[in-house]
Amino acid sequence: MAKAEKIEIYANLCKGCEICVELCPVDALEMKDFKAAVKDLDKCIACMQCELRCPDFAIEVYKK
């Protein structure tokens, strides 16, 4: 299973729509202060669902 090396979230771009958090199949993201945040990087399977569906260019997943 693919793993992520890093998940970059740009707080200045995130509008807090929660699409990434709700669509993440492995619960690796959470909301913190109305912005998306990484909850558990080890859980991430680098499926890229969050990055593909973030309307605001605010999340980037770097595969290992």
Binding site: D56, F57, V61
Partner: protein, 268 residues
């Protein structure tokens, strides 16, 4: 390595004006990846748009862009294409911009089969002006101008385009971000008038009035209500109720307008 969108974006224009959870950002990303995937030079790409949320898109993209009057995206695109057929012309607009205010331009551009790619962003509502019902608002759905539910029948943009004579018609949703990119590539490469209808969520204008306020919930709704065209053709009418087909719905080859025109007047 994550995909780098910055080379196609105008510096300093992001964050965009779209509301939190608006599907249009997802469409913009798929569109950038599609154009990049085809290896097109952005200096040869012309994007035109009318008025509305969808029509703000060309403002963010570092190509040749025209933000025109309401509904006239295709009129300007036709002018650009006829004047310089070498350019790759992409016209876009929302459901209201393309099928209500610009409805006449839309059907006649389909009829002419001019080599333009038309992306119609369908979020079922006039979002920018405050959530009035549009020609694609489903019957019974609520809008600020339909507090008891919309009594009008819904426009089917893909069928309208097919009936008017477009030679490539496809439909996709913001849930299908990767298939959307592939469909866009096919549409961009098609010689003739191609239409891609993209179902997108408007959590602010449509969602809040129709118990779909969560942006992720709207994306899940699209997943649950869309059916691949191959499967759709096998379904009974009862199974089809409330759902819509996605994928390439129509593809034929017909003479392209500018080439046919030039041949007709002896220019080629």
């Amino acid at each position: 390595m994550a995909y780098d969108y910055s080379k196609y974006l105008r510096a300093g224009k992001i964050p965009h004006i779209w509301c939190p959870g608006c599907g249009y950002g997802i469409i913009m990303k798929s569109m950038i990846r599609a154009i990049d995937g085809l290896g097109w030079d952005k200096n040869e790409v012309v994007m035109t748009s009318g008025i509305g949320c969808a029509s703000r898109l060309p403002g963010y993209i570092d190509a040749n862009t025209l933000h025109t009057t309401h509904g006239r995206s295709l009129a300007f695109a036709t002018g650009v294409k006829v004047a310089n057929p070498k350019l790759k012309v992409i016209a876009m607009g929302g459901d209201g911009d393309m099928t209500a205010i610009g409805g006449n331009h839309f059907i006649h551009a389909c009829r002419r089969n001019i080599d333009i790619t038309c992306f119609v962003f369908n979020n079922y509502i006039y979002g920018m002006t405050g959530g009035q019902y549009s020609p694609t608002t489903p019957k019974g759905s609520r809008a600020t101008t339909a507090p008891y539910g919309n009594s009008d029948n819904q426009f089917d943009i893909a069928q309208l385009a097919m009936g008017a004579g477009a030679t490539f018609v496809a439909r996709t949703t913001t849930y299908h971000a990767v298939p959307m990119e592939k469909l866009m590539k096919q549409a961009l490469e098609h010689k003739g008038f191609s239409v891609v209808e993209i179902i997108a969520g408007c959590p602010t204008g449509y969602g809040r009035k129709n118990k779909l306020a969560s942006p992720a919930g709207m994306i899940e709704w699209q997943k649950d209500h869309s059916v691949a065209i191959a499967q759709w053709e096998k379904m009974s009418d009862e199974e089809k109720a409330g759902k819509f087909p996605i994928g390439v719905l129509h593809e034929v080859n017909k003479p392209e307008y500018v080439e046919a025109y030039d041949a007709n007047v002896g220019l080629s």
